[in-house]
Each structure stands twice: as C-alpha cells, then as structure tokens.
C-alpha cells in the first residue's frame, strides 16, 4: 500500500475522494433497497445510509430521508457511551431504536458497524431503516394515541446483534418474538447488514488506494471545506434575532394546542437556534427526542446551502442548538414519542422557517406540515398484515412560484405504495387517489393542493392515524392565505360519514372506507385580485 503525500494537487485529490465517499454511501443505499423485504424499505425508500469517523463525526451521507440526517450522529454518540471504542471488534454490529439513546421513534432501527483498516478502527458505517412493525399495542407500532413508550413497541437500547461477524441468536430471537411479521423483519435486518458490509468493503478499497492516514486527513480537510462554505452562506442572513411560534393540534391525547417556539440569533459566522419557551413534556406521543430536533435544524440549513457543498460534520459546526430541559423536545423515559419524528418534526421546520422568513426573501410559506401517517393492520392474528404509509400534500408557495401539489415536503420524501402493489399484498382496496382541488392557500402565488386517498378495508381491521394541521392550518406568508386544513373520515357500509380526529386508533369493519384529505400549502403575498 502506498501512502501519498499532499502536494499542490490537494484539490484534485479531495475532489476525487469526496465523490468516492458520497458514492459509497449511495451504494449502501442501493444494496439496502434491493435486498430488503418490506414495501416500506423497497417501494418507499424509508431509510438512510452514512459513514462516520471514529469520533462520531459525519463523513458522508447519501441523500435519502432528511429526518435521519441529524439523528444518526446522536445514535452513534450513545452507542460509543455504552460501548467504548476498545470493546468494539471487527464484524460487530450494534443496533438500537431507543429514542433515549439517540433513536427517533421505535420503528426506526439503526445499525452501526465499525470498519477496521490495518487493525485499527477507522470508520463507522451505519444505516437506519423504518420497519413496518416493531411490536407494541398496535400493528405498525405507530399508535394514534399512546402515553408511554412501552405501548409503541419493543425498546432496543444499544446492543450487539452481531458479535465479530456472528449473529447473536438470542438477541435476534428476542426481537423477532416481539414483532408481528417475523420473516419480513428478518429479511430487512439482513438487508441492513448487507449494506453495511458493502460500505466496509468499499472503504477498505479506498483506503488501500490512498493510505489510511492520507484518507483520514482528507476527510478532515473536506469537513473544513464544508465548514468554510457554510460560513459564507451564513453571511447572507443579516445579524439579528428572529422569533416565531406555531402549534400542534393536539398533545397526542386531548385537543389542547401545543406551542413550539424558536429564537434564532445570528452573529457574524455563528447561528444559535434556541427552543426556549416551547411547551413541557406532553402526555401523548408528540414529544420529539433531541435527535429529531437536530435533524430539523440541519435539514433547513442544508436546504439553504448550495447543494454542491458536501454534507458532513463540518457543515454543521457553526450551528448551536439550545433545547430547554423538561420540554417536549427533550423528553425523558418513558414518555411516548412515536409522533415526534413524523409530525412534530414538520412543525419544527415550520417555526424555523417562519423565523427565517423575517430576514430571508427566499423562504416559502408553510407546506402541509404533516406526514399523514396511516397504519392499517389485521384484527386477527391469522393472516396478519401491517400496512404503513405517509401521504403527501401541498407545498408552500414562494416569492417566485406556486407551491407544488400532492408532494412530500421537508422531513420526509418517502414514495407511495403503488395501488396495484398494495392491493396484491393486503386485503385493502384503494377507491380514490387524487389531488384535492382548491386546498392550497390563495395569494399572488398559490399554495400547492393536498391529496385525497380513500382506502376500503376488505377485512375487519385496525386503523391508526397520526396526522396534524387538522385544526391549525399551514400559514401563508406576507399576506398570502393559509392552506386548507386536512380531514380524516370513516365511511361505513351504509355510506354514513364519520369524521375522525387527527390522531386516532379506530376499528374498521370489512367494507368500511378510510378517507384522508391532506392539507394544502400556504399562499405567498396578497393576491393581485384580492376580491377573489
């Protein structure tokens, strides 16, 4: 193996290494997608892959799901607290899903594997996939209403699932005994491992080419480049303090509004994001672990930064985040969190953008602000099934164009399950899948329209909903009108319509239909013809 020295050709080599690292993360994603079983991973791509160095700093990440971006490093830090570096051996795979160890919500299971090169721990490769079920009180492990983490599924603290390359069968059996569709979980676990092995192999090759010391040094230099570029972008925000607050429809149990506050302080080349003033820990599952909060902040600043800048730890070095103790953004065991990752996260982005809109013209009005989580599972253990899906909605309008209709915005970008794939797999029938006309907010630029998705249950089923913006609509900006709130219904066999709340777990008899109408995006500026 040759070890190369830096010369004035640094930039060339760095450019090449950057591409190679990004490519490795991307290739891990390709392997994970192809090898996984559940429609959730395969069709909807609800997973992320990344590379870290041994200091738990992000080296490269493939562009998969934004809500995973900041959450991964919290998970690694927690793992390293439990497993000091010297206890980690080649071939070990440590997994976790506990939100109190850097997880987000229980269905998201993180896999982490060390990469040893020349007998030293050089990198970590990891991935996180949303599993269609991880046990708990309802199929899909996303209960509409829950007040303790135990209801939401099996809690996995950092634990070795593979010990020096060998599966720890006791742990595997324990996990599989607690989930509803065993073979699917097993298949997805194997897929997650296959992706890590591919990442390991590629990092070894890269190190072989450049020499490990040179490669690690290049990784640090790439972080410094991203840091410097981020500071340049940050200069576009005028120094000052910007505040905003918005609400969740519900605390997860009752329909009391829940306040989320942000104060952004920009000084020279640093930015402080403080969530002081946010409501305390809530009784229901809207609490968001701090890893989710990090993800939301990072998402916004990643989106505001030129896309050619590499996503790594350097990009986020000058962002400081302040989360108040005992707030719903810093919940303690055993607070319920299943909706924090999927719903509270969207509101966090809304408030950060609302604050930034006071100084930056390019900030758009609020997008639908929810993921409209739908889980449908069988009532009977026989022919068990679990279908989970999120539904897109209207995007907020901006100062240059209308918001796009029927699309995923901000913290998720999962694909829908094709209707034909869904009906071939589950005892369900889709009756409508269309754009919800006139649901975007009015304005000079109109908000995007939401979606209508109607699904008939062909057998007795349990439906769980976690959806927001059913009471408080997505805001418009600079005089633009808010988007329409979303609506959920049950239609029974007689055709009678029953309105369902934003969060609910409801029994459906065979022949009954669930209708979800998702919110529209906010409008931008006063309409030119405001008599409209």
């Amino acid at each position: 193996m040759e070890t190369r020295k830096y010369t004035s050709e640094d930039i060339i080599t760095l450019s090449v290494i950057q591409k190679a690292l990004e490519n490795i993360a991307e290739e891990m994603g390709i392997v994970l997608r192809r090898a996984s079983f559940s429609p959730n991973c395969k069709e909807r791509l609800d997973f992320s892959c990344a590379i870290f160095n041994k200091n738990a700093e992000l080296v490269a990440q493939a562009e998969h799901i934004p809500v995973h971006i900041g959450a991964m490093f919290s998970a690694i830090s927690s793992i390293l607290d439990e497993f000091p570096l010297e206890t980690i051996k080649p071939g070990d795979i440590i997994i976790l899903n506990s939100p109190y160890y850097g997880g987000t919500h229980l269905p998201d299971i993180t896999f982490l594997m060390p990469v040893f090169i020349d007998e030293q721990l050089a990198f970590f490769v990891n991935n996180r996939a949303h599993h269609a079920d991880i046990g708990g009180s309802v199929p899909g492990s996303m209960p509409g209403i829950s007040s303790e983490l135990y209801e939401e599924g099996l809690i996995i603290p950092p634990i070795k699932l593979y010990n020096e390359g060998k599966e720890v069968t006791d742990v595997m059996n324990l996990i599989l005994s607690n989930v509803r569709v065993k073979t699917e979980r097993l298949g997805d676990f194997r897929a997650q491992r296959a992706a890590l092995l591919r990442g390991e192999e590629r990092l070894r090759e890269l190190s072989q080419k450049y020499g490990l010391d040179f490669l690690l040094d290049a990784v640090n230099k790439l972080m410094n480049i991203s840091e410097k570029s981020f500071q340049e972008e940050l200069n576009k925000i005028p120094d000052g303090t910007y505040q905003y607050e918005d609400f969740l429809d519900s605390n997860g149990i009752t329909s009391d509004l829940v306040k989320i506050c942000v104060k952004i302080t920009k000084t020279f080349n640093k930015i402080l994001i403080s969530f002081n003033g946010t409501d305390p820990v809530q009784e229901g599952n809207v609490n968001a672990p701090h890893s989710v909060v990090y993800s939301c902040v990072y998402f916004v600043f990643r989106a505001l930064t030129d896309s050619s800048i590499m996503t790594n730890a350097g990009l986020f070095r000058n962002i400081e985040i302040e989360i108040p103790e005992n707030s719903m953004l810093n919940p303690q065991n055993p607070s319920a969190v299943s909706s924090g990752n999927v719903e509270t996260s969207q509101r966090l982005v809304d408030v950060i953008l609302g604050a930034l809109a006071q100084s930056l013209n390019q900030i758009p009005a609020a997008s639908q602000g929810t993921m409209n989580n739908v889980t449908i599972g069988s009532k009977k253990a026989k022919n068990a099934f679990t279908y989970y899906e999120t539904i897109g909605g209207g995007a907020g309008a901006s100062g240059v164009k209308n918001g796009t209709s029927a699309i995923h915005s901000h913290m998720t970008n999962t694909l829908n399950t094709p209707i034909e794939a869904l009906e071939l797999t589950y005892p369900l029938r889709v009756k409508e899948y269309s754009i919800r006309k006139n649901s975007g907010g009015e304005g000079r630029y109109k908000g995007g329209n939401g979606i209508i998705r109607a699904i008939e249950c062909l057998v007795d089923s349990i439906v769980s909903l976690q959806s927001e913006r059913r009471t408080k609509p997505p805001y418009g900006l600079h005089g633009g009108k808010p988007g329409k709130t979303g609506e959920n219904f049950k239609i029974n066999i007689k055709g009678e319509v029953q309105k369902l709340p934003g969060r609910a777990t409801v029994e459906f008899y065979a022949g009954e239909t669930l209708v979800v109408k998702t919110p529209g995006g906010g409008g931008y500026k006063l309409s030119e013809n405001s008599a409209d």
Binding site: S15, A35, I407, H408, I419, E420, E432, I451
Partner: protein
C-alpha cells in the same frame, strides 16, 4: 451483399456501408434536428459519390427522434383515460420530490395536463375480476370532450388491466370506431406489467410520440427511396433488436432509447470478435458518456428505465449516461474542482475551437498536455488552437495556485476520468461483477484517449479499441438482429413440482411467444427461423424487487439460478424461502446476415509501420517524448509499446505507460497491461 447503417446523433449523422467483399465506406455529416430525414438524404447524396447504395440488402437506422420529442416536450397533444378516481396518478407520480434538500419541492410536469386526464367508471380487482363494469355512456361524453380539444393521441391505462384487458380493449375499439384517425395506446398492449404509475407513464410516452414516429418513418422511407433505396428500412429498438419501420410504428415507445443501443451493439461486436465474454463498453462523446456491461457475451437488458425523469419501463439495453465528455467544463466552486455536467457542447465548444468558448474543458486540458495533434483534429478538418486552450486552463491554474498549467490540466482530466470510473463501477462492481475479469471497449471520439487510464482505475487489464471509434455506433446498427420483446405480469407462487401450475405457466408463455413469432413474420421471416428465449422475473415472496433469470422449461433450474442471482446482487440467498413468479418475458429473434471487416495487410511485431515521429506529451507529472503512429498505416500484428499515441481521422488513442497495443487483422487494437 451490401448493408448500410445510419446513426443520428445530436451533432453528427454517421453512415457506414459494408459489403461482403470486405469494403467499408464512411460518411459523417451534420445532423438536421428539425427534420432528421433531411440529414439522412444529404448523407446519402455524399455517400453515392463513393459507392453504390441502390442494391442494398439491409438498411438499419438508429434514431433519436422519439428521444428528442420527449426531452424537448414536442410530442403531440395527448389525452389520458384511467379508472375513475385515479386521473391524477400521472401527476402525483410516487409523491416524492426530485431533490431532497430543498424548501421548494418540485417534480417534472406530466406530459398530459389535468384537463386532458379523464377518469371513467370501471374497476377490475387484484384477481382480474370486474367489480365495476365499464360505463360506455360516460366514455362517449369523454370522447366528445377529446374531440373538442384537438387531441391527436390517447393513452388508456386502467388498474389491473394486465390481468384483464377487456375494458381497455373495449375503449380502444370504441375510439377507433368513432375517431379512426386518433392514435390510441393501451397499457395492456404497451406494458402489461403491474405498478400503475410506471405503466401509465410508459403508455403515455407511447401515445405522445407515436404519431411523430409514424410520420417520421414515412418521411424516412420516402427520402431513402428518392435516393434509390427500395428495401423496407429497419429501425433499431431500445433492446438492441431491429424491426421494420412499419412494425415499429405500432410500438413507438420501443424506439425511445434507440440512440443509445447502437454503441453498445458495436461494443458487443468488438468483444465477440476478440474472443472476450465479459466487457464494459465506454462511449465518450462531446457532452456525455454512455457505459454498459456485457456479461457472458450478452448485453444487459433492464426494464426500469427513465427518460427526462419520467419512468419508461419497457425493456432496453441497460446504458448508464453521465454528463462527461470532451466539452465538459471545469470550474472551481466551494473549495472543490468540478468537471461537468455542464458542457460547452459543439457551439461554442471548447475554448480551442475559437468559436467563443472561454471556459476550460476536457478537450482543452487534453490539448494542453499534448495528447491531441492540433493539425490533425478530426482528420485535420477542424482547426484547433493550443494557445487558446492554454489561456483558459492557465486562468484556472492561477486561481488554484498550481505549479504549472500542465499540472492543472492533468487535474481536470483526473476528475473527469474519476467521474467516468464511478459510472463504470455502477454497471460493474456495484452489481457484484468483478471488473478485473472484464475488457474495456472504448470508442466515441474521446473514449480511446482515456481508455488505459480508466482501465487502470478499475484494475482491468484489457482494452479494445474498434477500427472506427468515431462511427462505432453506426457500425453497431448493422450487427443487430430482428428482435421483439414481450412481457406480462403473472404474480403466482413458484411451485417447482406442481404439474397443473406448470401447465398454466406454459400456456401463458406460449401466448406471448405466439405474438412474438407473429411480429417476426410481419418483418418478412418464416416462422421456422424464429428463435424464442424465455425469462422469468422472480422474487422471494414478500419481497418487492424481482430478479430476471432465463427459463428453459425447468422451474427447479430457474429457482436455482434465482438464488445465484440473489447471492450476486445482495450478498445472500434464501433457498428455503417461498418465491413468486412476477413477470414472464419472451424474446423472439431472427438472425440477420453478418459482414466481416476488411483485413489489414499483415506485418510483424518488430516493425512499427505507422510511425510518424515523436511529440512532447505531459504524462505522470512531467513532459516526455512519446512516439506517434498513424492508424491507417499500421499493419496486422504490429505491437506498440506505451507510452505512444495512435492518431486516426475520427479519434486519438493513448497507449499509456505500462500498456502495449497489438494491431488485429480486422483493424481492432487490443491493448493489454504489461505484466
């Protein structure tokens, strides 16, 4: 016997005539994008000055007409009929945004706007049973609306039509009886495969380009007839097969990736001629690079394709295209040097063309390093100016504080080649193929120059340069065979030893094969000459990604092959898990006569016949004197030790340090790593 290939690219239209006396005639003229058949006629007029084309036996055409119509959104006004409640599926797509880190989620606009998308009452369930009958009254109202809107073409895509096509076919007949001039594409005809968005998108693409292709084929046939060619022209399909234009007009969507297939076929030919079974093909042009894999002597066919981000799920040769070519622009942004995907194209082109380009490109960097001969670029027909190239590269060099202009130029090439190497890895190592056992077939104007360096990056030890690298896509056309691909969704469990289910499978296959045979007969061939190949898409039950394996009538063998494919693709297999047959695929083929390339004069190893002098070239961080050879003067068996440069009218080959080239009897260069 005499054969003509006509390949239309973005910049040039290439012609190649070959006969069984071993003569080859080439012609290269500017493309005429507004009406590609005009350029064809211009070329034929030129070609007739050198050779006879009236007694042709075969004429094969590769076209980008359908491709351009879609990319430039110049297809016909199209309406879409779908199951009621689902008229927005085409717009919603998979509900994801194209860029993940953005505050402005966006996607490609659908080809059919919402006012021309109609839902109609009907429904078939997931077993193929009708649960809501087709509402014919509603259909007639929709047809009135379509008539009012001056629509030229209609796509029909109902849920589960691949299990029960009656409703779609009924709509087809209704439209044809009321509006016979309207083109109609039904999804059960275009792509009877499950997943409604992708099927609908593919069907819409067919409807959108069909009238254009039909009139283009008519115009093409007329133009060549004017020049004395009266045989029915064949057109290259995305799968690399050919069919008569009149038949292609019935399935226009199959020509959408025609323009990419020719190069891969050329690569396949080279690979076979030199006795290789595994190869990567590399076609580097002015703005883009196409790469593809050849496995066990076969091109790879994929069904998950897209064009301009719209899903196109018909089978096509698996080609990966990236924005890297001679015109790719180098720029320094955010601490990193990037090369491409922006391209200076042909106009203004690289700075050295002196047409106003003032940004450094790959061609400029190659010129600065002395790889290109300023007096012999494109055979001396296109003047290029080294001082202009040097000026733009120098500017970048100063900005980045390089020690020399050459060092900066080498850096540009390093990044350019790294981007291409990543694309080559995507079609090889990332799929589990060991690139060390592959040969690299390099062509296109700029392919041969980077070929050894790229091979080194993938640890490959064999490079093949075709005799006419710059027109090799056109050559690929005349190596093609008649081929029709048919598929249908099946979605039943794979039962290895169940006679009844075997019989059902055989019946389903034989109905597809029957259609394939009929299409070959329509191309003018006898049923006995048709070869049928059958394939199964299989997945583990519950998995949603299928793998394609050949089927020779034995499900045990197919199942075993599936396990091996799974192991290769994903690193593990599950031989005990139940599996499902997802789709059936049939290829119907007829072999066309083949021609040999003319033989060179025979020379020997010791004498380098084409040596024309030496040049100072910047290689591996310093200038060195490099031997220059003229390709047309080389003889078979000549061996050239690298570093050396071989010049010819349509390309320049660098035999890099550590490599040696052997001239083959048919004009191929076989370049191998010196051990």
């Amino acid at each position: 016997m005499r054969c003509l290939g006509i390949d239309i690219g973005g910049t040039f239209t290439d012609f190649i005539v070959i006969n069984d006396e071993g003569e080859v005639f080439l012609e290269k003229i500017s493309s005429t994008p507004k009406d590609q058949s005009l350029g064809v006629r211009n070329g034929l007029i030129q070609l007739k000055k050198n050779t006879i084309i009236s007694d042709l036996n075969i004429l094969v055409h590769g076209t980008t007409v359908a491709t351009n119509a879609i990319l430039e959104r110049k297809g016909v006004k199209t309406a879409l009929l779908v199951t009621e409640g689902f008229s927005d599926v085409l717009e919603i797509g998979r509900q994801n945004r194209s860029k993940i880190y953005t505050l402005f989620p966006d996607r490609t606009e659908p080809l059919v706007p919402s006012n021309l998308r109609f839902g109609i009452e009907e429904r078939i369930d997931s077993t193929g049973k009708v649960i809501i009958p087709l509402n014919l009254l509603q259909l007639s109202n929709i047809l009135d609306e379509i008539a009012k809107n001056d629509v030229k073409s209609v796509a029909v895509s109902f849920l589960f039509s691949f299990f029960n096509s009656n409703h779609e076919n009924r709509v087809y007949e209704e439209i044809k009886s009321f509006m016979p001039n309207l083109h109609v594409s039904t999804s059960n005809w275009v792509l009877p495969i499950f997943r409604e968005y992708e099927r609908t998108s593919t069907t819409v693409l067919d409807a959108y380009v069909a009238p254009i292709m039909q009139s283009y084929f008519t115009s093409f046939t007329e133009k060549v007839a004017t020049e004395g060619i009266n045989i029915p022209p064949l057109v290259l399909l995305s799968t690399g097969g050919v069919t008569q234009m009149k038949n292609a007009a019935e399935r226009s969507v199959e020509t959408v990736l025609s323009g990419l297939a020719g190069g891969v076929l050329g690569g396949l030919y080279s690979c076979r001629e030199l006795g290789m079974t595994n190869a990567l093909t590399l076609d580097i042009g002015g703005t883009s690079t196409d790469v593809a894999a050849i496995l066990k002597g076969q091109v790879e066919i994929s069904s998950n394709n897209e064009i301009g981000t719209l899903p196109l799920h018909i089978p096509a040769i698996a080609v990966r295209t990236i924005g890297a070519g001679g015109g790719s622009i180098a720029r320094f942004e955010h601490g990193i040097l990037r090369v491409g995907p922006e391209s200076a194209g042909a106009d203004p082109g690289p700075a050295c063309y002196n047409l106003g380009g003032n940004l450094p490109t790959v061609t400029d960097a190659n010129l600065v390093q002395g790889f290109l001969n300023p007096n012999y670029f494109a055979g001396g027909t296109l003047p290029i100016f080294p001082d202009l190239a040097r000026k733009v590269v120098q500017k970048l060099s100063e900005e980045l504080d390089f020690d020399s202009v050459e060092q900066c130029a080498a850096g540009i090439i390093e990044i350019f080649e790294n981007n291409i190497a990543l694309a080559l890895r995507k079609v090889s190592t990332e799929k589990g193929y060991d690139s060390r056992n592959f040969a690299l077939v390099a062509f296109g104007g700029a392919g041969p120059l980077s070929s050894c360096s790229l091979a080194d990056r993938l640890a490959m030890s064999t490079v093949i340069i075709p005799p006419y690298p710059g027109v090799w896509s056109a050559y690929g056309l005349i190596t093609a065979d008649i081929r029709h691909d048919l598929s249908s969704s099946y979605l039943k469990p794979l039962l290895k030893n169940d006679q009844k289910s075997n019989q059902i499978l055989e019946e389903a296959f034989s109905s597809l094969a029957h259609r394939g045979i009929q299409m070959c007969v329509d191309d003018g061939f006898a049923e006995k000459d048709v070869l049928i190949a059958r394939q199964l898409d299989i997945r583990l039950e519950g998995q949603s990604h299928e793998l394609n394996v050949p089927y020779y009538g034995n499900l045990v063998a197919a199942s075993h092959n599936f396990d091996r494919a799974h192991e290769l693709a994903y690193g593990y297999s599950s031989p005990d898990e139940p599996r499902e047959i997802v789709n059936l695929r049939v290829s119907a083929m007829v072999h066309l006569p083949k021609f040999s390339l003319p033989a060179l004069k025979e020379g020997n190893i010791a004498i380098n016949d084409g040596f024309i002098g030496t040049r100072e070239v910047y290689l591996r961080g310093g200038y060195r004197e490099v031997n220059i050879y003229q390709k047309s003067h080389l003889k078979a068996n000549n061996v050239i030790i690298g570093p050396a440069i071989i010049e010819q009218t349509d390309s320049t080959t660098l035999v890099d340090i550590g490599w040696k080239a052997r001239v083959k009897l048919d004009g191929h260069l076989l370049i191998t790593k010196i051990r």
